[in-house]
């Protein structure tokens, strides 16, 4: 595999070690079992937010650990669910009397393992499932819709609420509400290559794209000839609008997310195309985010996520956040 790697078996451990070392003071890496926590956790009196899932989507989730977002993240092997003992150890390390909120992307393995962990936790806890991908119902690893880039939006907004002192029930309700206000769809120009597999996850021709692809390279809606950025943006935005059905005049966050191998030059161009594709709907783009945030290893491609924001969500989106992957202040 043409990657920066030593032994495939050591990849995750070395990558996490580098991540934690480069972000000393912000995060701490724990091993046996593996999780990444806020350096200042546990934060007394605060609901602890814990997420996790297979690795290969960096900066999600460990890159979103820090004040204003997650308290801990449990990274599984590449595209593989973390184990219940990771989640349990994370919950014990960062959780307190205010309880633990798990934010879980809707994949069968993740749900099963987070449920097993939740059963073993003595203190108060709740779970928010994300399933923002409008492309397909059911998929390779999923019953129902997949949780994709909208997960970042849930983690940011609920993270700000928890930081401001919202209680566990409130955080769980808010997370569910944000997820429902979110729709995403992606498109792949190339496959990704899982290091342990050593070959591309799927074959795709030089002149075609996978419309509605999942963040592990799962099949989407259809394989189509490569089209212009405008045509691609129109299809992605159209599918999201058909699902979300936002009222004219709604205010929204427009988030264009790269899958890992698509440069920023193209992502801002796709953002421009998505913005123009949205114009006829009468949605106001109140907030924007463009970059590689919820990736699929070395896949070239991108997704568009639209989140209809109410005033509370807007205020929480704007609240300070200090993580490796997302950072802003007053």
């Amino acid at each position: 595999v043409k990657k920066f790697i030593n032994r495939v078996d050591d990849m995750l451990a070395e990558s996490l070690r580098g991540f934690a070392d480069a972000h000393q003071g912000l995060v701490v890496l724990q091993t046996e079992p593996t999780f990444v926590r806020r350096a200042d956790a546990p934060v007394v009196g605060k609901v602890a937010l814990i997420s996790g899932g297979g690795s290969g989507h960096e900066p999600l989730h460990a890159g979103f650990v820090g004040p204003g977002m997650l308290d801990a993240a449990c990274p599984g092997q590449v595209f593989t669910s973390p184990t219940p003992d990771q989640m349990l150890a994370a919950a014990e390390a960062v959780g307190g009397e205010a309880g633990v909120l798990f934010i879980v992307k809707n994949y069968s393995g993740d749900i099963m393992n987070f449920e097993m962990a939740a059963e073993m936790i003595s203190g108060p806890h709740a779970t928010v499932l994300t399933n923002d991908d409008v492309a397909v119902e059911d998929s390779s690893f999923t019953t129902g819709r997949r949780g994709v880039a909208g997960t970042l939006v849930v983690e940011k907004i609920v993270g700000a609420a928890a930081e401001a002192g919202m209680d566990l029930a409130g955080c769980a309700e808010l997370g569910t509400r944000v997820n429902q206000a979110c729709g995403s769809m992606g498109v792949a120009l190339t496959s990704c290559t899982v290091p342990a597999a050593g070959k591309p996850t799927f074959e795709i021709g030089a002149g075609e794209v996978e419309m509605g692809v999942g963040i592990h390279g799962e099949p989407g809606r259809r394989r189509v000839p490569l089209a212009s950025a405008d045509a691609i943006a129109k299809e992605l935005v159209g599918a999201i609008l058909e699902d979300l059905k936002p009222a004219r005049g709604s205010r929204a966050l427009l988030f264009v997310n790269g899958f890992g191998a698509t440069p920023l030059l193209e992502l801002t161009l796709l953002y421009d195309a998505a913005r123009r594709a949205l114009a006829p709907s009468g949605i106001e783009i109140a907030r924007s985010l463009v970059g590689n945030y919820v990736t699929s290893l070395d896949m070239a491609g991108a997704s568009v996520t639209l989140t209809v924001l109410d005033d509370e969500m807007t205020r929480l989106w704007d609240a300070p956040v200090h993580t490796a992957g997302l950072r802003w202040g007053r």
Copy 2:
């Protein structure tokens, strides 16, 4: 070309429009001629920092426009120098009595055009050249060494100094000093593809890498078989140390920079390898940066930059910055 693009001729304009739209309130895009400026420019009494160069290296340079870094950036077409009228217009828009400092990467076309612009400017001005790439003397577009990722370090540190009120001569001297304290070397796993060319800039086998590659795909030192991340890090770090010859006990910034198509999972692994490769030198890693900052379109690969920091540079590196590509606060 398998990219998010409409017409090749419109790519830059659409990408810049998307960039400026996604970062409203922070930057303003001017056209005819094209440059990106701080929304709050000109800042009275402050030395104005202007950089620029060919596009395709995003977030460099427009992504580094904002408080604490650049006042304006002049983007040329992909891998093509901006024109003197862009730089002149930028200088007129953001410059004042404190003068203008141009930060220019050492490429023949960039230097020629920035010099032509400088000759037309009436007010005080100075130029800092960056040439941190230790891989080769002279190259495809360069007499002497190439300016690469160390340019970010110069822009950040001098940007903080200008924000704090340092005068033009001081900023120019500091910039030159930071550049001299900087050494970089890169490695390509794949070529990049310039949209207008429509095919890869160079051919490279599935089992080989280009050691010492430039940020436009210029040839490096040698073509070698793909090696482990540890072996690659050792060669990059070794070449930089041989050039910089930092004293044992020096404090340094270790910056691992992705070229655009290499995911964060690999970049943090390469950071870990570089950190271990540095250990025998007795250099203390006082600051770290890992991510895609000075890219080469869709090239897979990365560079390592080491900057030996004195106390002043460390303080200025830590100073608040608010740009699209680099952001931190107190």
